[in-house]
């Protein structure tokens, strides 16, 4: 009798525990994804560069960048020349925190920017004064008021192979990666396209016209602002993530129900 009781209490507890664990897992993942939303702020940038600003930028450059990029931004063995990269490149790299680099590696990750907006503007003005290069786009150029449908088509042709059709990012060779675009500001999209940061190719105005770029930005901002209509997007990583979810949670649930169906009542 005691043997029977022990056996029965074990078989009663197990399915309940499994069901609770599965329910808790579903609630936590579901709640976590639903809570994720992105707020987009438009960025106003000053384009007027005074001599004093360039001077200030030069000082910042010598203190923070020259050790790798050279005293006159001519480049060293460790880092490329910055002559001709333009203000847009400096603004992109420094405001996203990729530069100054924390450590060498296959790719510079984003981090909190260590400069104020005014300091970044000074640095950009200094580098732009060395040689002409792409300028920081105006607020009107990056305003997300283009054609999102056309932007989506252009994005899928030119960008999605690396950045994923939903902008979730993806892996490249030897530790490099295309970053996710889910928290990126419109200005950064534009700057990345015209400067080709790190291993990203350049998309000049002959390839994607300013109107094309505006449409792409409109599409990406639309993706950032609207939740996935299909429910949990599982980071938009595609069939592997979705298959794993089904494998663990749906198959697990089916097995749990099957075990319960076949078990005798105590």
């Amino acid at each position: 009798m005691s043997f029977l009781n022990r056996k029965s209490s074990v078989s009663r507890r197990k399915p309940m525990a499994a069901a609770i664990v599965i329910a808790a897992g579903l609630l936590i993942t579901g709640g976590g994804y639903a809570a994720a939303t992105a707020a987009i702020t438009s960025h106003q940038s000053s384009t007027v560069a005074s001599a004093a600003q360039i001077d200030e930028g030069h000082k910042l450059f010598l203190a923070n960048c020259a050790s790798c990029h050279g005293k006159s931004a001519e480049g060293t063995q460790n880092a490329p020349t910055l002559i001709g990269v333009g203000a847009a490149s400096v603004d992109f790299q420094v405001s996203s925190g990729r530069m100054p680099a924390q450590a060498s590696g296959p790719q510079m990750p984003t981090k909190n920017s260590q400069f104020t907006d005014a300091q970044i503007a000074s640095l950009a003005a200094y580098v732009a004064s060395l040689a002409p290069g792409p300028a920081i786009p105006t607020a009107a150029q990056v305003a997300p008021n283009g054609d999102a449908t056309r932007g989506g088509e252009l994005f899928r042709t030119n960008c999605a192979m690396c950045h994923n059709a939903a902008g979730a990012g993806g892996a490249l060779t030897q530790g490099k990666y295309a970053p996710a675009l889910t928290d990126t500001e419109p200005k950064e999209f534009y700057e990345a396209m015209i400067t080709g940061p790190q291993n990203m190719p350049v998309f000049n105005d002959a390839n994607l016209t300013p109107a094309d770029k505006k449409d792409i930005i409109t599409y990406l901002v639309y993706l950032q602002k609207h939740p996935s209509p299909g429910g949990l997007n599982l980071d938009n990583l595609g069939p592997v993530a979705e298959g794993l979810f089904v494998w663990i949670f749906v198959l697990g649930g089916i097995i749990g129900i099957t075990v319960w169906l076949g078990a005798k009542s105590n």
Partner: protein, 350 residues
Amino acid sequence: MADKKSLGSAESEYHFEHDYSAGLAHVSADKIADPGLEPHRVRMTDKSVKHEKTAARQVAIWFFVSIIGSISAIVAYFAFPITDDLGTVRNNTFFVGVSIALGMLAIGFGAVHWAKTLMPDAEVAEARHQTRGAEDVRARAVEIVNLANQESGFSRRKLIRRSLYGALALFPLPGLVLFKDMTTNADPTETLRHTMWKKGTRLTTDPTGTPIKAADLTIGSVFHVIPEGLNDREDMLEQKAKAAVLLVRLDPEEIKSQKELDWGYDGIVAYSKICTHVGCPVALYEQHTHNLLCPCHQSTFDLANDCAVVFGPATRALPQLQITVDAEGYLVAKGDFAEPVGPSFWERTA
């Protein structure tokens, strides 16, 4: 007569004593003796009134959950309306779906719980019936068939019988002829060997079809290219699947292959975007390493060395498109690819 076998030593009162047929099953002599049924175990709900009442309440709770689910589904449909914003589909589908699932699933859970805890749980072994019919039934069936043969004259009237055989044999043939035309009539080898590119076809941007001038390409930029006129073609997708090209400008000093330099124009090189492994679009280009990565199986090609394979399952380099500029300065193809693009196929010789 079919093989006869008794059902073993079930101790149930429901056990039937008569013989049964094995039907279509192959019954071999078991080496391990049939252990019979486990001894019956009395449930708590049979032993204690308290447990029985609890179980009855649990069954009822499941049915109440179902009622709540069905009502919630109706409420949720109106509480989360689908508007012009596609995002509203998400909440509507989620709450309506979960409620309907509860409404249906809880009925099933309640019924199963009911059956398991409260309905009789005696073990029952029911023998199979004989598959062979009784002798008189069998004789009657033969009689009917013979009568039908006699009345219709099927055996007697040879002309009718043989013409019917002919008709039955021929009626599926039109279907076979129609099936033949479900595939293309074109020789698949020719289709796979050639693309839309011809001498003088302009390189245009994908998807807009704008012609590209050599001066449009700055070093480090990448163009996704389709042949001019592709968008006007009826078989646009089939042609694009073969003719898609990646156009990149490199510093000519960085190009290691003389053939790549010669087939390009001033450091501008055009390569097929169709992976030689299984045909995915290879378009993940790294500006500084000149690696071209296929997203499907990570085949990596070196764009600075004639797109030779440097990693992954692909075995052949990507085919290069010979390009030059026309009188107006637009980039044009010098001809089709020198070899078939994309993955290997049976008839591919090179």
